[in-house]
């Protein structure tokens, strides 16, 4: 079995990033997946990757949030398929069906809000609004143009505003 030894300088650098970013990253992820253990696993996996790819990473914070957002997206897609299968058997209740319309704005969570968006809009929204990355950073990391990201964010805002304003 081959082993890649992590260079001590790299370990020291990534440890500094870990001390500064890990806690918040887990908290951020927990808001999205609702399960603190799973969030902890995702953030851990992102740091394992960061250690391996440190020499290619210029913006560690942005890089970490993109890595975790990808894991969250995959998780949601998998869960979505499971939920659909479950509903076909007649037992499914949509996650927010229990909320009364009157207090939607004050009880809507970021997870529900983002899940209500079409799949293509979720990553831009998560990275820009929730992880505080700039439009340029989001565009680079998603391999899209700035114009596309701006359009996606505009579209997402319009959809969300309808949902949030309906409850004033």
């Amino acid at each position: 079995m081959t082993r890649d030894v992590i260079d001590l300088d790299v370990e020291t650098s990534v440890r500094a990033v870990y001390d500064a970013q890990f806690g918040r990253l887990v908290g951020w992820t927990t808001k999205l997946v609702g399960d603190p253990d799973l969030a902890h696993d995702f953030a851990t996996e992102a740091f394992v990757k960061l250690l391996r790819h440190w020499s290619t990473v210029r913006e560690p914070r942005a890089w970490l949030y993109v890595a975790v957002a990808n894991l969250v997206r995959d998780h949601w897609r998998k869960r979505g398929r499971e939920a659909t299968a479950y509903e076909r058997h007649g037992a499914g209740v949509p996650e927010h069906a229990a909320l009364s319309a009157g207090d939607l704005a004050t009880t809507l969570t970021v997870r529900e809000a983002v899940l209500a968006l079409p799949d293509r809009l979720r990553m831009p929204v998560l990275l820009h609004y929730f992880a505080d990355l700039s439009v340029v950073q989001v565009a680079n990391h998603l391999g899209k143009s700035e114009g596309t990201i701006k359009r996606d964010l505009y579209d997402a805002r319009a959809r969300m505003a309808v949902r949030l304003e309906a409850t004033r």
Partner: protein, 354 residues
């Protein structure tokens, strides 16, 4: 409450961001990450550290995750009381403070640094209110030998820094005491030594870099900095060397030039000194030697000839100062270790204690 003047979408995300509760890492968990990263690349072992998550959940005796799923407003002592009935309001308030201070790191942690290196207490969760900041600032203490004037200030919501009024005196011993009670990752204090005063200036119009050690000019190098333009110009201002890294792959996709576009590049670079978190380095650039000293052609980095960059790398340390002049793009304090962007009066105004 009316949201009439606000954008409901931004308000929503502001609130959700404010409700993020940081968990904390620890040495054992970190070692697990290093082990996994060192192991065979194709193995993907995440389950082995899952058990540690349980420890990260409970902070100061309060399980924050539960509060947030029910909560309709940012965490307050009152909302905590609702979920911790056997806990007095005072204890809950203390637990909240402990949580605010819970996760932090001290930088630098030992070693010898440059004359521009501030003491940094890096919090994983935001410390926003004046009351919380006052509480934190009252507890932390910096001792310098020989004694030097300096002050704490908040660079942003998570970074509390202490900088001297002027650059450190070389040879200063700095001891930091941070008795912030509560669960935390960091130690309660640290100490470090200030080394020789390496202070460099980059004149982007003259395309030169001048290196001074203890006040005397020891080297002058021809350089090429970022080519004119909003995205490529090198920022002007006083920066601090954040990190030394002797080999990096520079991928332009990370600075806004995606693969497939005309200016795309991906190059191995050597002798890199990081000066901003936005991707500005002082580096060896054999490809731009012909422009060094005459024109600015880089994507924001300061390019040096290989031998010059190697010398610079070997003679630099974290905390050394590099002041850039001659561009129209300002270095913002939070884009790096930005404590020297302020004059001392301006820095003192960053303290909650005034």
């Amino acid at each position: 409450m009316s949201n009439f003047d606000h954008d409901p979408v931004e308000d929503f995300f502001d609130r959700e961001r404010n409700q993020i509760v940081s968990q904390h890492g620890n040495d054992v968990h970190w070692q697990g990450i290093v082990r996994q990263a060192s192991a065979h690349r194709r193995s993907k072992v995440i389950g082995s550290v899952a058990g540690l998550a349980a420890a990260g959940l409970v902070i100061g005796g309060v399980t924050y995750g539960a509060v947030l799923h029910n909560g309709t407003e940012p965490v307050t002592a009152a909302t905590q009381d609702a979920t911790t009935v056997d806990r007095s309001a005072k204890a809950a308030a203390e637990a909240r403070l402990a949580q605010a201070r819970a996760t932090y790191a001290l930088i630098p942690n030992g070693g010898t640094v440059g004359v521009g290196m501030p003491v940094t207490v890096q919090f994983a969760s935001p410390v926003v209110t004046k009351a919380e900041r006052v509480q934190v600032e009252k507890r932390v203490k910096v001792t310098t030998v020989p004694a030097q004037q300096g002050a704490w200030g908040w660079l942003d919501n998570r970074q509390l820094m202490w900088r001297p009024s002027v650059y450190w005196l070389p040879g200063t011993k700095v001891t930091v005491s941070t008795p912030l009670h509560g669960v935390k990752t960091g130690p309660d204090g640290t100490s470090f030594t200030v080394g020789a005063a390496m202070v460099s200036t980059v004149d982007m119009k003259a395309h030169t870099m001048t290196v001074r050690r203890d006040g005397k000019v020891i080297r002058t190098f021809p350089v090429s900095t970022g080519r004119p333009g909003a995205l490529t110009e090198t920022r002007y201002g006083t920066k601090v060397i954040i990190e030394r890294n002797n080999a990096i792959t520079m991928d332009s996709a990370t600075v806004g030039i995606p693969k497939g576009s005309p200016g795309y590049y991906k190059i191995e670079t050597k002798w890199n000194l990081r000066v901003t978190w936005t991707g500005e380095f002082i580096q060896s650039a054999p490809w731009s030697v012909n422009s060094q000293g005459t024109e600015n052609v880089s994507h924001g980095c300061t390019d040096l000839a290989p031998a010059d960059a190697e010398w610079m790398f070997n003679n630099s340390k974290m905390g050394d100062i590099v002041t850039f002049t001659g561009s129209s793009r300002a270095f913002k304090p939070t884009e790096g270790i930005g404590v020297w962007v302020y004059d001392f009066a301006g820095w003192k105004a960053q303290s909650a204690l005034g």
